[in-house]
């Protein structure tokens, strides 16, 4: 069979299987091995099924995934989210909309311990929603802030999204993590700015809370400082070249475990349910990675990705226009596709295009992750929205989506700033010590 025909049939088959709800990893493995068999013979295709999963599951770099997942789960168990919120509250609570801003800041702090947006939204939601309710916050603002703040989980390192991007594009995990730091802080600031503007226009959205004394602020900050210590060791360790990302993840998980232990939160039952949750997340990420590593070589054999890249370049569009089209397409796709699935399915085609256009792949990784974040809070299948809905059951979906919209605009602004000033993402990775 002609490679292009095989590729098109394979893509069609993949979409059918996905539409019929076959898990993404399984569908990619199945189509990948069939396509490989047709193009390169069945013997090699079968051998790939046996060997490729072992290669991936024994890749030293990928140990970073379960270890950071573990760190996030230890952080959740330790109840650090409450301290983070208390500290942010002591500093911002008396502003107009201050509790919502505190939620965003605490989410950013939690994101530095956890690579999961869902975990960030769940943990902070449970802590912050009741508080905002007490102070009669409009549910639009409170739910919107939690759903949007939670998405910082995959932008501020550690981030599962970056690890997957790194593995699929053969970029450095450490550099991608560092590239997420400043854009993460920028997006945090933009979220807070958005709250400031919203409460300026409509003060009833979020009335100010009581002011804290200076002593209170210092005490609250000290409570949260353990977490700052963990973050400094992990991210600082990667930046200074002291640790590989895998080592940083191991040390970070261990420190988070010690914190949980010191707070008396680490019981036999919390440890065992946490371990189960951690390996479950690990399994779902690895099944997708295995699928991608069987499907993507097949797709490369069909030359479809390189042909598409050539075609686009041949059209001689300004590269900003191509980027704009890609981002717009991603934002639309993100409304319907789960984030991981979108990364894995589109990167083999989009990555060559980005390289041909001369964009920095590390920078594009950051841009991609922000677009994924937008998908997490877009209707109709924004995962974080459902998470928040699960915590605030009485708030109608339409209200949550309405509350999210200003934050969505903030994300779009963040994207525009990053396109205009790529150095915001690239400064740290370019100055890291190796």
């Amino acid at each position: 069979m002609n490679p292009t025909t095989a590729g098109l049939l394979g893509l069609a088959g993949l979409f059918v299987l996905l539409a019929l709800r076959m898990p993404v990893g399984i569908a990619m493995m199945l189509i990948g091995v069939l396509g490989f068999g047709v193009l390169n013979g069945w013997g090699p295709a079968m051998a790939v099924l046996g060997s490729e999963p072992f290669v991936i599951a024994t890749n030293y770099e990928l140990i970073v995934i379960p270890l950071f997942v573990l760190m996030g789960n230890f952080a959740t168990v330790s109840g650090m989210s409450r301290d983070l919120f208390a500290a942010a509250y002591a500093w911002f609570g008396h502003w107009r909309g201050g509790l919502a801003s505190a939620t965003i800041a605490a989410c950013a702090g939690f994101a530095a311990l956890s690579g999961s947006s869902v975990a960030a939204a769940v943990t902070m939601g449970k802590v912050a929603l009741p508080e905002m309710r007490t102070y009669r916050y409009d549910p639009r603002l409170s739910t919107g802030a939690i759903a949007a703040g939670g998405t910082l989980g995959i932008l501020i390192p550690p981030s599962t999204g970056f690890v997957i991007y790194a593995i699929l594009t053969e970029e450095s995990i450490g550099r991608l993590f560092l590239a997420g730091v400043l854009p993460g802080l920028l997006l945090t600031a933009l979220f807070i700015l958005s709250i400031f503007i919203q409460t300026r226009i409509n003060p009833d959205l979020g009335p100010p809370g009581p002011a804290s004394t200076v002593m209170d602020r210092i005490r609250a900050f000290r409570q949260a400082s353990a977490m700052i210590g963990v973050v400094t060791v992990t991210i600082g360790g990667i930046y200074t070249g002291l640790f590989t990302p895998t080592e940083a993840a191991g040390v970070g998980a261990f420190l988070a475990a010690l914190l949980a232990l010191a707070r008396g939160r680490l019981t036999a039952s919390s440890l065992s349910s946490m371990a189960l949750e951690s390996v479950r997340t690990t399994a779902l990420v690895f099944l997708i990675l295995v699928g991608a590593h069987i499907f993507n070589p097949f797709l490369a054999l069909t030359h479809i990705p390189s042909d598409l890249a050539e075609l686009l370049v041949g059209m001689e569009l300004p590269r900003l226009a191509v980027l704009g089209i890609l981002l717009a397409a991603y934002i639309v796709l993100g409304m319907f596709l789960e984030g991981f699935a979108m990364l894995v399915l589109t990167l083999p085609i989009v990555h060559p295009i980005i390289l041909t256009l001369g964009y920095d792949p590390i920078w594009f990784g950051v841009v991609m992750v922000i677009v994924l974040e937008m998908g997490l809070i877009s209707p109709p299948v924004g995962v974080n929205v459902f998470v928040v809905k699960g915590i605030a059951e009485d708030v109608p979906m339409s209200k949550i989506f309405a509350g999210i919209f200003p934050f969505w605009i903030a994300m779009a602004a963040c994207l525009a700033i990053l396109v205009a000033f790529p150095d915001i993402a690239l400064f740290l990775p370019n100055t890291m010590i190796r």
Binding site: L20, R21, L67, E247, A275, L276, L284, F286
Partner: protein, 175 residues
Amino acid sequence: MSDESRAVLPGTAVADWTTRALAYAAGAALLLLMLLTVVAVVMRYLFNAPILGAQDISELSLAVVVFLSIPYCGWTGGHVAVDLIGTVVGESRLRYTDTLMRLLGAVLFAVVAWQAMDQGLDALEYGEASNLVEIAHHPFMFLMSFGWLLFAVVLLLQAVAGIVRPPQAPQEKAE
């Protein structure tokens, strides 16, 4: 899996217990992996005495974590699927296609398990081992094969349960 399906299918209780037990083993391996990483870092920086083969051991531990947890993740509906059709077509209409997808998956992973077993046998014959400290690869490949086989069984059980009883939507999970 809900209690109802457990009552319907005799195999489910066994699958439930087995996948969970293996997931606990995977969790223990993960905690050990964390400790090993920390000890290796401490030995290298504080005592200037890197552990020989720490990387080899870590890599093979990762394989243990991954292959012992994939069946559990499958059993608890954790693998990421795209559920767009579920919002348009009713769940009960999708039970046959869901079952078909699970059967396809079961066949695929039975083949994958067989190929993994083949890899293990080859590794045994040629004495494949890790780089620095010689840890034989074949036990880990057999473990991988076992993990895939169990995953195939899980999919098969879910396929049958889906026909017996309308299926639940695959849980979406994003991290």
